[in-house]
């Protein structure tokens, strides 16, 4: 659809998802360059404010990625992230943002292929969805 290229920011935990992104690299699994990764130590470190600011800044999608439940390097940080994301969704809904714009994924350090697939899939999904309502104001 009219060459719309969604902009995605991904907050990935250092131990699993960031490592997965590295593994995708070392295994040379290509995926669209629409994504920008910010490294945090744990998905539990991701402040809701980061997500809100991301949309303010005009990103079309925000991906939060951490270790699988039970595998958190800090025992339960990802559980906290899960709880917060649920709350955050309600807020985004009020703001008139579609659920798909905030994505929470568990990707282990061994799942490089899955990381690439996730990005591919998310880009397609957002293409279907079109630009974020906040994008225009942002880029204006």
């Amino acid at each position: 659809m009219n060459g719309f290229e969604p902009q995605i920011v991904a907050f990935t935990c250092n131990w699993c998802s960031y490592a997965a992104a590295d593994l995708a690299g070392t295994s040379r699994i290509h995926y669209p360059s629409n994504v920008r990764i910010i490294r945090v130590m744990c998905s539990g470190m991701i402040d809701p404010i980061y997500v809100l600011r991301s949309f303010e800044a005009g990103f079309d999608g925000v991906l939060l990625a951490g270790c699988h439940i039970g595998d958190c390097h800090y025992i339960s940080g990802n559980k906290r992230a899960e709880e917060r994301t649920a709350k955050l969704r309600r807020l985004l809904h009020i703001l008139g943002l579609e659920d798909e714009r905030l994505k929470l994924e568990w990707i282990s350090a061994a799942e490089g292929g899955r990381f690439a697939e996730t990005i591919k899939g998310y880009v397609d999904q957002l293409k279907q969805l079109g630009p974020s309502p906040f994008r225009k104001e942002a880029t204006a």
């Binding site: 920011v9 590295d22 130590m41 402040d47 350090a109």
Partner: protein, 662 residues
């Protein structure tokens, strides 16, 4: 720390990484655009930033241009952050005034188009973040001068001995009644064919007698607390019902005990008593009583033969399990592997035909201490023909995609032993590829060829007792394609030996969680870096060696064991470790003392404390804080922030990425 932000001088260094980055990313362009940014004093690119000249470049600029921030755009921080932290420190900066920008793994290697644009955005973001970086003081804490080794196979034994020889205290914990592991079940070792027991048992004895090794067999680690240099492990010691200090290992109890059970050590081919040592050379040579089969325990008090006959009065049914705590600076995981149960692959007839056995069972048959005294006899029969099936559950995506690495070689060894013990026996090797990559392996393979072993290239589809011809009557028939002839083949044999995959321990997941480690896709414990940190793990101070990390032969296992010993010694002998400085910190002026941080932190780092005069405020025990940031996000007043991952730093990065001011 009062720093006038006008004085910020950032140096940006873009690495070509040969053509790994420069091949896809226009390094000149990204360097130029970095140069444009305010407070960037210098932007350079170089072939290999991590090389000596590259490092020198950075140090030089720090001195000559008075840089106070450094951005390195290169490979993943998980690769070279330590390297460059050292570099900036040597250059006279605080190591935390460095930011690594990942433009290789997460850019040049994964994108064809847009790689340059993305690299530009990432670097620009890195610059913005670097702007807010602050120097951090990383605290040193003393290291407990002892090592915990988990698992008493050849890996754990070798590691324990090396560490102990260096004069350090070692706690060696083994789940089974004796140390020795799988190697103690093996008869001969490839390719040299030296006797496994002859090389292993002296080491086992050495462990027992070593003044620096505290051996805890029949025990398991049930809890691990703390952090690198200061672990506290809780060990559960199961009751042996035999007093180790009194028992002389005379064996009379086993002689007299009337109750039998299947021998785990002989893989079900032989029997043992209810009171037993798994094998004669067991260390410690002190039996255990198996409560499942001991009638004294089952029918309270009936029997008690062992009690009567033990002159030392070592048998003690009043024993209960003990809980022991140990404090160690480092942990070595040597938990080994499980042999896959081939009955999963029903068509191969394991569990259906008594003459289909696993490689480990065959080892027991060959072994002089085994159920047949070393004679290859199964169900009273000496096989005149044996089929050895390779890759059972290995190299098969339905079971395990990986190659188990040892089967080709021990299969060759088996053939040799059969030829040696049974003259005119015919041996068939059913293989897909012969993988003889190790030192002396190929030579061994060649020798086998001359011993009249038949090699059939083909993965057997079935082991059946359905005879289609006279010569197949009463035999096991291995059905396969001889792929080199392109013809179906039916090979009648008396015995089939399966080479099942070596797989991760069935409880590997629980172990990984207990020690806060990660597993690779195949389920084995994952090393930190496949090449440069083969025995380190995601958890500082915990190391993994041997088959716990993946299938290996004995030489490789021992090499890793020694590597693990070296790692732990270098850690302990340093005497102290630097705790990572990126911990939580509380702005007491903002803290309202609500205590949410105290509730949510699983490491008990934050505590509310009050001097009585005012409302209690939270304070962080930095030794306990792991810097996960959960408290910072939970704190309703934003009083808590995580050093090196402050809101300011991350939002700055975000803003630069979006190219939109927020």
């Amino acid at each position: 720390m009062a720093e006038d932000k006008n004085d910020v001088k950032i140096g940006v260094y873009v690495c070509h990484c040969g053509s790994n980055i420069a091949g896809t990313v226009d390094v000149e362009q990204v360097t130029a655009s970095a140069q444009e940014r305010g407070s960037v004093a210098v932007a350079r690119n170089y072939k290999f930033m991590c090389s000596e000249p590259g490092q020198a470049l950075i140090k030089q600029d720090i001195e000559e241009l008075g840089l106070n921030r450094v951005v390195v755009a290169a490979c993943s921080p998980r690769m070279h952050e330590p390297t460059f932290r050292r570099v900036v420190e040597e250059g006279g900066l605080n190591p935390y005034q460095l930011h690594i920008c990942n433009i290789r793994e997460q850019c040049s290697w994964v994108h064809k188009d847009g790689a340059t644009d993305k690299a530009e955005a990432l670097i620009s973001a890195a610059i913005s973040r670097a702007y807010y970086l602050e120097p951090l003081e990383s605290r040193e804490v003393p290291v407990a001068p002892a090592v915990l080794v988990v698992g008493g196979g050849i890996a754990g034994i070798q590691a324990a001995l090396k560490v102990a020889d260096a004069g350090r205290k070692v706690y060696l914990v083994e789940r089974e009644p004796s140390i020795g592991g799988h190697m103690s079940q093996i008869d001969k070792t490839f390719p040299t064919l030296d006797c496994s027991a002859c090389i292993l048992t002296p080491r086992m004895a050495a462990v027992k007698s070593h003044p620096n090794i505290e051996l805890m067999t029949y025990s398991e680690v049930v809890d691990v607390q703390g952090y690198v240099g200061n672990f506290k492990a809780t060990i559960r010691r199961k009751p042996r019902y035999v007093d180790e200090s009194l028992c002389t290992g005379c064996g009379i109890c086993q002689e007299k005990c009337p109750w039998k059970a299947e021998s785990e050590f002989d893989c079900g081919l032989g029997q043992r008593k209810a009171i037993y040592t798994p094998f004669p050379q067991a260390v410690p040579n002190v039996p255990v009583i198996d409560p499942e089969h001991c009638v004294y325990i089952l029918k309270d008090g009936k029997c008690g033969a062992c009690l009567k006959f033990c002159e030392r009065g070592a048998v003690d049914f009043s024993q209960t399990e003990k809980i022991v705590d140990v404090e160690v600076g480092a942990i070595i995981m040597a938990t080994g592997y499980d042999l896959m149960d081939p009955s999963e692959i029903a068509r191969l007839g394991y569990g259906k035909f008594p003459n289909v056995i696993t490689s480990l069972q065959f080892e027991r048959l060959c072994n002089a201490t085994g159920p047949t005294g070393g004679h290859i006899v199964l169900n009273g029969q000496e096989p005149k023909s044996v089929g050895i099936i390779h890759c059972v559950g290995s190299r098969d995506r339905k079971y395990h995609s990986y190659c188990s690495r040892v089967c080709c070689m021990y299969a060759l060894k088996f053939a040799h032993l059969i030829k040696e013990k049974i003259e005119d026996a015919s041996v068939y090797q059913f293989y897909i590829d012969m993988r003889c990559y190790g030192k002396g392996f190929e030579e061994f393979f060649q020798r086998e060829g001359s011993e009249g072993v038949t090699f059939i290239r083909g993965k057997p589809a079935q082991v059946t007792d359905l005879a289609l011809s006279e010569e197949e009557q009463g035999k096991l028939v291995v059905v396969c394609e001889n792929t080199l002839m392109g013809r179906q083949l039916r090979v009648p044999v008396d015995m089939v030996v399966l080479c099942p995959a070596m797989e991760a321990r069935s409880d590997a997941r629980d172990v990984a969680r207990l020690f806060n480690l990660t597993q690779s896709a195949d389920g084995f414990l994952q090393e930190r870096h496949a090449k440069l940190e083969p025995v380190a793990t995601a958890n500082d101070g915990v190391f993994v060696i041997g088959c716990a990390q993946g299938p290996k032969d004995i030489p490789d296992t021992v090499a890793q064991a020694l590597a693990g010993a070296a790692e732990t010694l270098s850690l302990i002998d340093r005497g102290s470790v630097e705790l990572q400085a990126a911990t939580a910190t509380v702005d007491e002026t903002l803290c309202q003392g609500c205590g949410r941080c105290e509730e949510i932190c699983v490491f008990h780092a934050p505590t509310l404390s009050s001097d009585g005069t005012m409302i209690p405020v939270s304070s962080i025990n930095e030794a306990l804080c792991k810097g996960c940031g959960v408290c910072a996000v939970t704190c309703p007043t934003g009083a808590i922030s995580i050093r090196h991952f402050t809101r300011q730093q991350i939002l700055a990065e975000l803003e630069a990425l979006s190219g939109v001011p927020v």
